[in-house]
């Protein structure tokens, strides 16, 4: 409990933590408000009846989880700043059993990631609702809200844990954060677009999978795939994300235990 208290203090005392939450809120709104307008603009390309189709409305609400990037960045900061500031010296002097420190960081990061994602997703939900209010014929399924909450909880915890592991693996925090942003916002999106078979295994594909959104496009574009019909369902998506978190946490722990503190 002492270590959890200490790690919790490190988080809430640091101003950047509130910046990450603000970033997540901003990204969730930025993703969710225009989503209904985008879907409506693309209706000629879409299957079903555009926003009359509950799957399309789910797709709009799924954008409410758009803040997950900041859960990953926060996780990186929780671990990476420790080494960057030299704070690791006092941390490991107080608790030389490093595995305990790492577990505490993982627990605090997961908790903070969940809280961050719940807040940002709820705001994103309001944003999506606002966008959809311009289309009174839009229909929402009753399970959508529950799916969103589950997605927020799992993605917040998993991405924050992955962030802590990345922070342990990459010594330079700026490179780690920059790499994470480029990976999630550019590389993953390109992979999903051009190689859906691989893309569905990636965190962003699995987050869409958790929402159980099934969108099919009528697009004639041969090489682009904007459909989500072949993504995994919620069960497999959650299991794979948790597996990724476990692998990352394991590798991060192994590296931290072996590293000399400079």
């Amino acid at each position: 409990m002492n270590l959890l208290k200490s790690e919790f203090r490190k988080l809430i005392y640091t101003r950047s933590f509130y910046g990450y939450i603000a970033g997540a809120l901003f990204l969730a709104l930025l993703s969710s408000i225009p989503a209904a307008f985008s879907v409506n603009a693309l209706k000629a390309e879409l299957s079903g009846s555009s926003l009359m189709d509950p799957q399309m409305v789910d797709g709009v609400y799924a954008k409410a989880t758009g803040g997950y990037l900041f859960a990953l960045i926060m996780g990186i900061a929780i671990m990476g700043n420790e080494f960057q500031n030299g704070q690791a010296i006092s941390t490991f002097l107080a608790t030389p059993k490093r595995i305990k420190v790492l577990y505490s960081k993982l627990i605090v990061a997961a908790g903070a990631g969940i809280i961050m994602m719940l807040i940002s997703t709820l705001l994103g939900f309001v944003g999506a609702y606002f966008g959809l209010s311009f289309y009174p014929h839009a229909k929402v399924e009753s399970s959508t809200f529950l799916d969103l909450i589950i997605t927020a909880v799992v993605s917040g915890a998993v991405l924050a844990v992955m962030g802590v592991a990345i922070g342990a693996l990459v010594r330079n925090v700026k490179i780690a954060m920059g790499g994470a942003v480029i990976w999630l916002q550019v590389v993953e999106k390109l992979i999903v677009l051009f190689w859906i078979t691989g893309g569905k295994f990636l965190p962003s594909g699995l987050i869409v999978g958790m929402m159980n959104v099934r969108i099919t496009l009528r697009s004639q574009q041969r090489y682009l795939n904007l459909s989500t019909g072949s993504f995994f369902g919620p069960g497999i998506s959650i299991a794979l994300l948790l597996l990724y978190a476990a692998i990352f946490a394991g590798v991060g722990s192994w590296v931290s235990l072996r590293r000399d503190i400079d």
Partner: protein
């Protein structure tokens, strides 16, 4: 009675051997100077002692145990390693509260130690606004947070002005008067001559001499004794 024991300690980083076959003991209730020029291997040896680095071979033990195996390390050993260890964006008080929480020490003790090192007025100032001397004092505050009997201090006088050095000397004397045992590393030989009881001199990773200050120095200065020892070991 020996409270700290280095036994054949060697630490190598790839091709560089920072500490080579160091064997030495630190006695209880005394101030022991761990002296040598910059790059001699003092900090590396202390990091091995404090489980911040893994020895390539040999051991560095405190009361017969590795630091990482102590039940409540902060209450047994207080340590200063360089002036790092703090989040520069947080105040001195918040940094201490974070460290105190991890060892189960109450927040009130953080205020107490800040007073002991004369940092009460600067407690809410961000550490990045501290002078080097203030950071050194904050490090000392961290070391005594758990009221340990043993202190391991790595270059605590580094960057201090004459007033700061005099303050540090008095501070350490008060601690030993209360029964503390102190291992203090420094490259400032002239200053240490007035501060320490026993001497371990290390050069290029090897122990070149050890003994009480009187025995090592003889009728000259510590600097002269150091040069004699280095030349004799060459």
């Amino acid at each position: 009675m020996s409270i700290i024991a280095f036994q054949g300690l060697t630490k190598a980083y790839k091709d560089v051997v920072a500490v080579k076959d160091l064997t030495a003991n630190v006695e209880a209730g005394r101030i022991t100077g761990f002296l040598g020029p910059n790059g001699a291997g003092k900090s590396t040896a202390l990091k091995c002692l404090l489980s911040l680095a893994t020895p390539t071979s040999g051991t560095a033990l405190i009361r017969g145990a590795k630091y990482q195996d102590l039940v409540n390390p902060m209450k047994e050993v207080g340590a200063v390693i360089e002036t790092g260890g703090f989040n520069p964006s947080l105040s001195g008080l918040k940094n201490l509260r974070i460290i105190a929480a991890s060892a189960g020490i109450g927040d009130g003790r953080a205020l107490e130690v800040l007073e002991l090192v004369d940092l009460t007025d600067a407690r809410n100032k961000k550490v990045k606004q501290y002078s080097l001397g203030m950071k050194q004092r904050l490090s000392l505050a961290t070391a005594i947070l758990g009221e340990p009997e043993i202190l391991v201090l790595d270059e605590p006088a580094n960057g201090l002005d004459p007033i700061g050095i005099a303050w540090l000397r008095d501070f350490l004397k008060k601690l030993t008067a209360n029964g503390h045992s102190i291992l203090i590393s420094s490259h400032q030989l002239a200053e240490m001559q007035n501060t320490v009881d026993d001497v371990l001199i290390i050069h290029k990773g090897r122990l070149v001499t050890e003994g009480t200050m009187a025995n090592v120095v003889g009728s000259g200065t510590l600097e002269e004794a150091f040069i004699r020892s280095v030349e004799a070991s060459a």
